[in-house]
């Protein structure tokens, strides 16, 4: 492989790494395409600000460890300094076993679909590609470990200040961070390389060696479980686990050297030695790695990573649903009616097939938020706490009641071809989740009543109109932003600020009626009638606006 090929591989990988790093910079408003001096100054400011912020947070956590956790542990008869290497080793070993477990299932080299067509088909040096991918992957992981190691280093230094060192200097702090890092970084690299060796070995084999890989998986599970029990047992009941002590000491030797400074040079030599051996083995076995197979195994995962970075959770859900659905299913036996009712039939079949426990949680969130609102409103009578709760409740209702309708818009060709009026399409998509939300909200009110928190009848009566109003506000906002080409691509927009503002009217108006009735001691029946009339008018108006917007999509 010549230097031009290597440069090409490095260029591709560095662009991928920079683009994933650029995602974090975009979050703080940095535009990498803008080459003006002001942007560079802003970049320097961001780096300076976050460096200082991270350092402050690190000192805060280390202070918490040294002055709260360590005395608490000492009170229980456990030395913090003695606990750090044991727990650190446990975390490292379990993490490494987890990586090994994953590597027996899926390639550690992660490639996109584009990589599969462009890079994996080329005769580029497999060793060079493997090591480039390995180091770029390792770099993204080592940062967190380094920060954690430095925090523990600071905490141990602070304990020394309490017991030995009188004054902290910059030198003390630097050494406290660098000493553990000197051993932790090569150890971390060594453990990563072990997992990669297994993954690359699997990709190298002509056949999959299923039994061998399954054996490693089972072994990893047994080792992880056993090591967890032994380590925790030796901390909590050391006398019972005495026979395992030499074994634990042997495994935790690098971390004892890193954090406690005993035989630091020996610890450093051992970790660097292990690192070099593993990297050499990885280099040796990666010459025949099958990159196309790696791409085949990982392009789906890579697409999910990209979707996550872009905040495209619909895409992630879609990919996960496809995986869970499999390839086929026997026809549904749910009876169907003709015409618009087929939309309800379709919604029921879709909901049953895409059912997940996590989807129940989002419904329960609406219930718990309602109960919290009643507790805060009735017991605490605190408006400032009530507003964020109302906001989350509204956003949750908007999300849940429009989820199916949004999915239908993603199949615009089919939905648009139906000989149904926009009103029927909207109602069949929205009414079932709105009904569930109303039922849940009433259930929350009933529960609160049982707990002795009295709720005004006007609130009970206004719930259906408020929920319908919130839902139609969101539908209107989604349709307002929709564009035919976007929908044909399967990308319906989500509700936004306009939807939330309209929803706030739907909540605010019945609430105002409630306050007016209370303040001027008007008959409650008048309030109930006013709520029904105004709430109904708002909901119907928003439905009408949504219908008009539906017709305007083009």
């Amino acid at each position: 492989m010549n230097s031009v090929d290597r440069r090409s591989v490095l260029t591709i990988r560095s662009k991928q790494v920079i683009s994933s790093f650029g995602y974090w910079l975009t979050l703080v408003g940095y535009d990498s395409r803008d080459r003006s001096a002001l942007t560079y100054i802003y970049l320097l400011y961001i780096i300076g600000f976050f460096s200082a912020w991270i350092l402050v947070v690190m000192f805060f956590i280390s202070d918490l460890l040294a002055n709260t956790i360590a005395p608490f542990l000492a009170y229980q008869g456990i030395a913090f300094a003695g606990l750090v290497p044991s727990i650190g080793t446990l975390i490292f070993v379990l993490w490494c076993l987890y990586l090994i477990y994953k590597a027996t299932n899926r390639s550690p080299l992660i490639f996109s679909k584009e990589d599969a067509y462009l890079l994996c088909q080329t005769p580029a040096d497999r060793r060079f590609i493997t090591l480039t991918w390995f180091f770029s992957e390792w770099l993204s992981r080592v940062l967190f470990i380094s920060l954690a190691a430095s925090i523990i280093g600071f905490a141990l230094l602070e304990l020394d200040v309490n017991h030995g060192i009188r004054m902290l200097s910059f030198g003390h702090i630097t050494i406290a961070a660098l000493k553990p890092l000197g051993i932790i970084i090569p150890t971390h690299l060594f453990l990563c390389a072990v997992a990669w060796i297994i993954g690359v070995y699997r990709l190298r084999c002509e056949s999959e060696r299923i039994i061998f890989m399954r054996s490693i998986r089972v072994l990893a599970l047994i080792m992880g479980g056993s090591f967890f029990i032994i380590t925790i047992g030796s901390i909590l009941a050391s006398s019972f686990f005495t026979p395992f002590q030499p074994f634990l000491e042997f495994l935790s030797f690098p971390l004892v050297s890193a954090f406690l400074g005993d035989s630091w040079w020996l610890g450093l030599s051992v970790s660097i030695g292990l690192m070099i051996i593993c990297l050499a083995v990885l280099w040796q076995i990666s010459n025949k790695v099958n990159l196309s197979r790696a791409a085949q195994e990982t392009h789906h995962f890579q697409a999910q990573q990209v979707a996550f970075r872009l905040g495209d959770f619909d895409r992630i859900n879609e990919m996960n649903d496809r995986k869970r659905l499999g390839s086929s299913h026997l026809p549904s036996k749910i009876p169907s009616l003709s015409g618009a009712w087929m939309l309800t039939w379709k919604n029921i079949v879709q909901s049953l097939r895409s059912f997940k426990i996590s989807r129940i949680w989002s419904w329960l969130a609406i219930l718990f938020l309602m109960i919290s609102m009643i507790i805060v409103g009735v017991l605490l009578e605190n408006g400032s706490f009530l507003f964020p709760l109302i906001f989350f409740w509204t956003a949750n209702i908007s999300k849940k009641t429009t989820a199916r309708f949004r999915k239908d818009l993603g199949n615009w060709w089919l939905l648009h071809s139906l000989p149904l009026t926009p009103r029927r399409i909207i109602l069949h998509g929205v009414v079932p989740p709105v009904s569930v939300t109303i039922f849940l909200t009433w259930f929350a009110l009933w529960t609160s009543n049982l707990l002795g928190l009295s709720v005004d009848p006007i609130i009970v009566i206004s719930i259906p109109f408020v929920v319908a109003g919130i839902s139609f506000s969101s539908v209107f906002d989604i349709l307002r932003q929709s564009d035919s080409n976007m929908l044909l691509e399967g990308q319906p927009p989500d509700f936004g600020l306009v939807g939330l503002i309209l929803s706030s009217f739907c909540i605010g108006i019945p609430t105002s009626i409630y306050f007016v009735i209370n303040k001027f001691s008007i008959l409650p029946l008048v309030g109930i009638l006013a709520t029904i009339l105004v709430g109904g008018f708002l909901a119907i108006s928003l439905l009408h606006l949504s219908e008009r917007q539906f017709r305007r999509i083009g």
Partner: protein
Amino acid sequence: MSNPLLQVQNISYRYDSYQALQETSFTVNEGEIVTITGSNGVGKTTLLKCLSGLLLPSSGTVLIDGFNLYQRECSAKRRLSYLPDYPRFYQELTIWEHIRFISHAHSVEHGFEKRAEILLREFDLSDAKDMYPHALSRGMRLKLGIILCLIRPFRVLLMDEPTSTLDPQGTTVLCEKLSTLSAEGTAIIITTHDLSLTSTLGGQTVQMQRGHFELG
């Protein structure tokens, strides 16, 4: 004189400042087949999207069997069937459930199973009828799109590159179906790059150029 099923009056479409479709008027009578050819990006798909109501034209109206597509949409859609170039499907419904959904939503209940079985057999999808769309190849997905277009009642059929990923057998079946439909009085508009298809189907062939469409 033949009955006009598709009447297009002064229709045009702009994407911001770009005139994707220049103003045009034409009529397609019952039993007529119009095949539109032309290079990529000349506006074939835009024209079909406007005719199907998926895009609101910048000007003009479309009448389907006398019903205005933008004012009497339900009546118009009962007489119209459209196949896009890349059809998308519900990922939780199988092929059979898609057919059931579309036919029942169009109030076609009696005999739908028999018709569906025939279409599935003709397009070689019988063995895949319980499969989800995401488990199908592109060609199979296109076949499913064609079946969904044909299972419902219609008088005007619009198809955007229906043979782009079809196998030769599928193309032959589609041509036979279109010829039968034309003989039964359906007005058909197809866009394609497949010149052999234009000669097989007969009818009028129009070469579209830079958003300009004129039917002789």
